[in-house]
Symmetry: C2
Subunit: 278 residues, 2 copies
């Protein structure tokens, strides 16, 4: 049950960003995050655990969100798992209206945060309506299973992609980021061919999807989100092939969606900007 | 009508190569070309008009084809359109069992060769059974309409891709090359969205398709051919969008096919290695 006193702007929203979002012009995506978190009433927590230099990344986003009008922004430092067990960090999460996961290395993020008190507090806060946003590595880690690494600009191979358990804010989807910019269609195809019940979501740079339970996701930003739907796959040799062999994958359905377009994750249907189906 | 005295190996075959084919190990693709041209009986003509240094490119392939056992290999130099009007070049084409178009710039190839006596002789020879092969730019120029340039590693936009009339050996297909290696799915999607009656064929490096009229094409080489079928597109905003805007393209069908897999261009159906449909 959602908290009935909760603002309509904060219905367990996710904002998943393909990396390299605009920081200097209109800041459409980051501005949207601040808005979803409550603008002047926002209490934003920045988690920079994915970043190599957490303090730098945290400070950058603190300044950005303050400049965009967020009421309060704090950065939680997580140099080690112990820091994520600190009750004060969990209390901070409990009071937040939005959390923002920075870029960096998704495996550093999940190894530091996974299974900690802070992570449990963030999950609980999200259930009560806190917006969860992540960019680049922070986007990759949103789903149940995340892509950890894999060759870009290559044909799909079984060895192209390594996966690991993600933070699980989004079920049955595998997210890939910097998608067109790093030529990652091959590794996302390889990921979904391994289990077509999972949907592939490739996010270009400066492009995000906004997701709310039981609603279509909507695309925001300057480029596109690519939905890779493997449910229509007629044949793949993924289970029999050797790691270095090029894979066969036939009958994949692809949707390329720019800003204003939507997609029903459950129904696997595109929603046009006017709300109709194509 | 095919020439009834023609070898069964030379039934108006095309060999379209995604560039960077192996020149030093097994040379699977180039060896196949020499075989299709007749091995010891082959008379191969190398057209290096696409290359910036025609003599270098021509010499390289002459040596390769000789090393692979081709009976006779000659290189036709085309420094200007006048050279392609030379009756002796046309005679050479008329006697060839295979022509090979090197890489370089597809627009240089078509501007030098298009509409010349040599080109007419090559078309006539192909009708009588001469194998036509091309790599990289030589592959791009095979179809009716060819991609001349376009951003790689970017979301599909109308300005992403510039097209021009190609050599027309292959109808109703747009070929793109160095496909996964240069992240070119966006520009191929943009090309086929402009007219989904045309099929997109993205060829990875060291990968080729072998095509014979009324037969499925077959994939050869170490990586994959990607078929982008726009006939299933449910919606696109291509005609209304501005050049720099990210495009919407929904419901595209994609097949990723490694060596041994086939595809019926006319029926738009995959053929598995054993000949069955998936």
């Amino acid at each position: 049950m959602l908290n009935p006193t909760m603002s309509p702007r904060t219905k367990r929203k996710l904002l998943i960003i393909g990396g390299a979002e605009d920081h200097s012009d209109d800041c459409v995506i980051l501005r949207r995050f601040v808005e979803l978190a409550g603008d002047g009433d926002a209490r934003i927590l920045v988690v920079a655990a994915a970043a190599q230099r957490q303090a730098d990344a945290g400070d950058r986003y603190r300044r950005l969100f303050r400049d965009l009008g967020a009421g309060r922004v704090s950065v939680v430092a997580i140099p080690c798992r112990g820091a994520a067990e600190d009750p004060s960090a969990a209390r901070e999460a409990g009071a937040a209206t939005g959390v923002f996961f920075t870029g960096g290395d998704q495996l550093r993020l999940t190894t530091l945060l996974g299974g900690t008190r802070l992570f449990a507090a963030l999950q609980a806060a999200h259930q009560s309506g806190m917006v969860v946003a992540g960019t680049s590595a922070g986007a990759a880690a949103m789903s149940d299973t995340m892509i950890v690494e894999g060759d870009s600009d290559d044909a799909p191979k079984k060895c192209t992609v390594k996966m690991a358990p993600g933070m699980g804010f989004l079920a049955k989807v595998v997210v890939d980021q910097h998608f067109a910019q790093r030529g990652r269609i091959g590794r996302l195809l390889s990921a979904i061919a391994q289990n077509p019940s999972v949907l592939g979501l490739g996010l270009d740079e400066d492009t995000a999807v906004e997701i709310e339970p039981d609603q279509p996701l909507w695309v925001v930003g300057s480029r596109t989100a690519t939905v890779v739907d493997g449910q229509t796959i007629a044949h793949t040799n993924t289970s029999q092939s050797k790691p270095e062999e090029a894979l066969a994958i036939t009958g994949v359905t692809l949707h390329v969606l720019p800003s204003g377009y939507g997609y029903h994750l459950d129904k696997r249907e595109v929603a046009l900007p006017d709300g109709r189906m194509p």
